[in-house]
Subunit: 151 residues, 2 copies
Amino acid sequence: MGPPWWQAKFRGCGYRITIAREVILNTLAKTEDHLSAEDIYNHIHTKHPNIGLTTIYRTLDVLTNLGLVYRFDFGDKRARYELAEGPKGAHHHHHLVCTGCNRVVDYTDFIDAEVRLLQEIEQVLSKKYGFKITNHLIQFYGLCSRCQADG
Amino acid sequence: MGPPWWQAKFRGCGYRITIAREVILNTLAKTEDHLSAEDIYNHIHTKHPNIGLTTIYRTLDVLTNLGLVYRFDFGDKRARYELAEGPKGAHHHHHLVCTGCNRVVDYTDFIDAEVRLLQEIEQVLSKKYGFKITNHLIQFYGLCSRCQADG
DNA sequence: AACTTTGTTGAAAATCGTTTCCATTTGAAA
DNA sequence: TTTCAAATGGAAACGATTTTCAACAAAGTT
């Protein structure tokens, strides 16, 4: 197998491939969670004490701009990141967010119907408002069973 | 006509009706824009120099918790607020956000289809994940015509 | 009317995720 | 290797939002 799948995309944009970037990307690839910049820092720090938090923020910016990573806001005042689907990346999903404890559930139910409708809408909106639509966001908010119980 | 429609909801929760709250609510009711806390402060400040920014933040919290106001994040690092539909409030809509200039377009196209699908999904997700769903968010992101032109 | 309880307020200070600055290091093309 | 823009870490700056705290005001209670 050749070099990691994302390196091509990297080179094409004048970006360099560095250890920090590789480590950060791998961290995101290996988790199911929705990590914040600091989460990533903590995951990495033992093995790579020389990678600073600033670099993580900068790298996440780059990755987001490249479309390799999605940035989310789940209401807990910090950005959270998720690998966009790569070759064998996670399947497309949306989020169900608990407003009580900020837990996030990924769901794929109805994804097809959602995406189908979204594409239809995108087409209409593009034309009507002259937007070039690149992305969409769907999230549901509510209370998870535990938070309902806690009152 | 009786007292403003929202006062009932207010009293029922032990909240008091104050000038600040009335002014802030009226400001939101009179605009088409998506105002930030500071925007509201600026709108108000000439006529009500005694209403501080802190009060605005606090009031917006209260209004959001009461469900009278929705809080949005359009990616410009500050919360923006919009009156929830009241008696003759704005009709239900979703947002189209320009990632270039952060302009926001309200659209109502397909709203019925969107809401219908969302309700279906909500029902399934509620059951499957034990969530009590209270809210949803749909947004499209892209470049407005002006920002496309600017390259 | 005086008192009490409790919600509300403004100003200033604190918080905290994120960015910026800047001197130094590093990747990769020539 | 030489070269040079890109990338980095640490410290300082930023900026929206929250917290603190003492003063205030609205309803109820005597």
